[in-house]
Amino acid sequence: MQAGVHFESQSPDEEVVYVFRAHPITNIRWIIGGILFSLIPLIVAIILVFPGPYSLPIKNASILAVLLVWWLFVVGFMFREFLVWFFNLYIITNKRIVDIDYFSLFSKQVSETPLDNIQDITHKEVGLLQNWLDFGNVFIQTAGATSNFEFHNIPNPDGVQKDLMDLVRKSRRLHEHA
């Protein structure tokens, strides 16, 4: 059970069972990029400050200001990337699955389907990193015209597949008895 997680379209009698997002390791690209981009102006500043053909007659305070602004942009970029990762969620409730996809901070796509609609669940772990760190994709095939669901790079895809299948069975049993 995911304590303290609520989403916009959640009905009062609906319980959030699982909330997933991509494995934290998937953020490594922008983290390394951010660190490298933070270091670039330091090298440029050193070239500009030390006497030589490229040295600028510029106040140290101006160089500090340029560095601060650059780092501000880098931190802003990293914060934005973090938010996109953080809010890209896959939610499983006792009634349905909800896939919230943010492509950027200002564009999102929310898909959902009742648990009863789920027909088939498969998971896939490809490559060394995914096998070592136990994360991968879970594909959920649904009935009818609704599109299929893909949970990308989620931790423990095997466990998610089993638990989701149990929830689907429970939900079907409930509906059969009702």
Partner: protein
């Protein structure tokens, strides 16, 4: 020879082509232009983060909104610093 070179130097008399060009002033203007745009963007970001936290409310929602505000405040502080230099 050096004196001659200094005389034809349009930007100053130190032999460095950038000297006397008011590099500090240009840096200040460019930074302020960027920062004013970034301030607006940071404010939009604060609003957007609070919208996002309403779509999905997590235990960390308040912290994220706070972080967006901190970003705005730090941007404003850097803008003041650039103005003062």
């Amino acid at each position: 020879m050096l004196e001659e070179a200094n005389q034809i130097d349009l930007f100053g008399s130190t032999g460095n082509y950038f000297s006397g060009f008011g590099v500090d002033l240009i840096v200040k203007i460019v930074l302020l232009a960027f920062l004013s745009l970034y301030l607006i963007f940071s404010l939009i970001m604060v609003k957007q983060v609070s919208v996002l936290t309403k779509v999905v409310e997590t235990p960390h929602s308040k912290f994220l909104v706070k972080a967006a505000w901190y970003q705005f405040i730090i941007t404003a502080a850097v803008a003041v610093f650039v103005l003062l230099i």
